[in-house]
């Protein structure tokens, strides 16, 4: 009876949403929206009348070749600062709940990792870290960026925790790195305010679209975000994989 009621309620809500969107004046049908009225069209053309060509266009309004990055870290960089803050607060909550005990020890695994597993995981660790660094560094050229790159670095730490029952990261260094990277993001934003006119302004030259050293402060910000996210999630993983030591 309960299940049937839930089913009917779900179907009813689904139909309500479909009927509300059908013929709604606020939402145009697919393909009929006038894109010139939308702010997204400005982001895609980067505010210029001529086409942006990869490897040729010099000094456009926003440097990154990847449109998503040019929105996330250039046009909407302040939102990204908020996003990083949200992640920081959730990591803070985890460490308040799980990491407040004075003495902590590694969570012991049920199996004993053999020699092969330990060596192979060390080899794989380097490859995962390199992929994470690559994704972070090329965030303004290819898909990816600071958030996935940082998480890849953290998942390399997770691999070491899984494959070695003695491993424990030096978590204090991560906490310092996280704080420094987060503060530098704000400092760069304030520098934009001092040098230019608004918070997080891109005050360095944009260069050629598609070069590794292009688009001003965006690679710098993405490296900082990558470091911050990587160390933050490594801290969360460490909190999950340690437990209070019983006296």
């Amino acid at each position: 009876m309960k299940k049937l009621l839930g089913f009917i309620l779900t179907i009813g809500l689904g139909l309500l949403i479909i009927f509300a969107l059908e013929g709604n004046a606020l939402f145009d049908d697919f393909g009929y929206a006038n894109l010139d009225d939308r702010v997204s069209s400005h982001y895609i053309t980067k505010g210029s009348d001529v086409d942006i060509i990869f490897g040729e266009t010099v000094d456009p309004e926003s440097g990154p070749a990847n449109i998503v990055t040019s929105i996330v870290v250039d046009y909407r960089s302040f939102d990204t600062l908020g996003e990083v803050t949200v992640l920081f607060i959730s990591a803070l909550g985890v460490s308040l709940l799980l990491g407040s005990a004075v003495t902590q020890k590694r969570l012991s695994l049920d199996f004993k990792p053999n020699f092969m597993l330990r060596v192979a995981s060390r080899a794989l660790f380097g490859i995962i870290i390199m992929t994470g660094v690559y994704v972070t560094l090329h965030g303004h050229l290819t898909p990816g960026g600071g958030f996935p790159g940082g998480t890849m670095i953290a998942s390399a730490m997770l691999l070491l925790y899984l494959a070695d029952d003695q491993f424990r990261a030096k978590i204090k260094g991560f906490k310092i790195l996280e704080g420094v990277a987060g503060s530098l993001y704000v400092v760069i934003g304030l520098l934009g305010l001092v040098v230019g006119t608004y918070f997080l302004q891109n005050f360095l030259p944009n260069g050629t679209v598609g070069d590794l050293l292009s688009s001003g402060i965006i690679p710098i910000i993405y490296i900082l975000i990558g470091l911050k996210v990587g160390s933050e999630i490594s801290g969360v993983i460490d909190n999950f994989l340690t437990e209070e030591e019983k006296q």
């Binding site: 998480t151 953290a154 899984l162």
Partner: protein, 83 residues
């Protein structure tokens, strides 16, 4: 209809079925694995829909990190119960 459309229909049906299984499964660990499968399939869906940025993030966070954290939480709970 092109091939991509057929792929999307099969993918969406699979996503719905596995998402339902993840909710209705009684054992928590199986539920977590189904959740991971949903993430994996949605990565494919995102790539087909030409959103590689979202696909990359979903692959790393959804199917990698979150699954691992859930599994470790379940392990810790099991240890506490065994005491």
């Amino acid at each position: 209809m092109t091939t991509i459309d057929y792929i999307m229909i099969v993918l969406s049906a699979l996503l719905l079925v596995i998402a339902f299984l993840a909710v209705s499964e009684k054992k928590l660990i199986k539920s977590v694995i189904f959740l991971s499968a949903v993430s994996m399939l949605s990565v494919v869906a995102f790539v087909v829909m030409k959103a590689p940025d979202v696909a990359l993030t979903e692959a790393v966070i959804g199917s990698g990190l979150v699954t691992a954290l859930f599994v470790f939480t379940l392990l810790s709970i099991k240890k506490e119960e065994a005491k």
